[in-house]
C-alpha cells in the first residue's frame, strides 16, 4: 500500500466511475480514457511493462477513439428521452453493490494476511517476445486469425448496405 498505488487507484476509480455516471456521452468517453491510463500505470507499477504499453496502445489509442467516433456518429436528436425509471437504476446499483460486497468478503477471507515476499519479477518486453515466439506460438497465431476475422467482420458490419443510393 504505497502512495503511488493509492494515487493510481484513485485516478482509475475516479475515471471509471465518472465514465459510468456522467450525462454527456463524450465526457463519458474522455473519463474512460483517464481511467484506462490509470490502469496502464498500475500495470507498469506491477512490473508488467509490455502489458502496460499494450494497454495504452490498444485501449487509450484505439478503443477509446473508436468509442468516441461511435458516440459522434450515433448522436440522436432526442437525448432527453433517455430518462430511465429510478427504480430500475436503484436495482442495478444495488446488484453491483452486492456483487462488490461478496467479492470483497471473499478477498478478505481468502487471502493471507502475511505479505508475500517475492522479488519484483522481470517481465520485460524482450522476455515476453521470446516467450511469445517459443512457448506461445500457437495462441499467437490463433489470436492473429481472430483479429483478422474481427477486422473483416467489423468492416462488413459497419459498411452501408444500400451504397447504391447514397
Amino acid at each position: 500500500m504505497t502512495i503511488s498505488f493509492l494515487l493510481l487507484a484513485a485516478i482509475t476509480i475516479i475515471g471509471t466511475a465518472a465514465a459510468m455516471t456522467l450525462k454527456n456521452l463524450v465526457h463519458c468517453v474522455l473519463a474512460l480514457t483517464l481511467g484506462l491510463v490509470g490502469l496502464a500505470a498500475l500495470y507498469l507499477q506491477l512490473g508488467a511493462q509490455f502489458v502496460g504499453f499494450t494497454q495504452i496502445l490498444v485501449y487509450v489509442g484505439a478503443v477509446a477513439i473508436l468509442a468516441a467516433f461511435a458516440v459522434m456518429m450515433t448522436r440522436s436528436a432526442n437525448q432527453t428521452l433517455t430518462q430511465t425509471a429510478s427504480s430500475f437504476r436503484a436495482s442495478g446499483a444495488l446488484i453491483a453493490v452486492l456483487v462488490f460486497a461478496v467479492l470483497a468478503w471473499a478477498i478478505y477471507s481468502g487471502t493471507s494476511k502475511q505479505p508475500i515476499l517475492s522479488a519484483q519479477p522481470e517481465g520485460t518486453v524482450g522476455q515476453v517476445g521470446v516467450a511469445l515466439m517459443h512457448h506461445f506460438v500457437l495462441p499467437l497465431e490463433v489470436i492473429g486469425l481472430l483479429l483478422t476475422a474481427a477486422l473483416i467482420g467489423a468492416g462488413i458490419l459497419a459498411m452501408d448496405e444500400h451504397r447504391g443510393n447514397r
Partner: protein
Amino acid sequence: MSPLSAYLLLSSFLFSIGLAGALTRRNAILVLIGIELMLNAANLNFIAFWRYGPHPEALTGVMFAIFSISVAAAEAAVGLSIILAVYRHSKTTNLDQLNSMKG
C-alpha cells in the same frame, strides 16, 4: 492488508463499476464500455496474481492478459460496428427503444 488484496479489491471495485454501468445505463455504447471495464478488471487480476504468485518467471499471467486484451479489442470493434449498423437501421442507440428484432 497485503498488496495482493489491495489490487484484488481495486479490481473487484472496477468490476462492480462496470457492472453497474452495464445494468443502469440505457445507451448501447455505454453498456459496451461497462463490459470493457469488467474485462479490464479481470486483466488487473491476472497481472496482480502473476506479480505476487509463486512462479512469476513463467510469464503466464502476462500472456493471459495480452491475449485477453486482444480478444477485448476484437470484441469492442465488432460490438461498436454492430451498434453503428443498428443505429443506421433504427436511428437510435437507446436500448429501451430497441425492442424488436425485425423491422
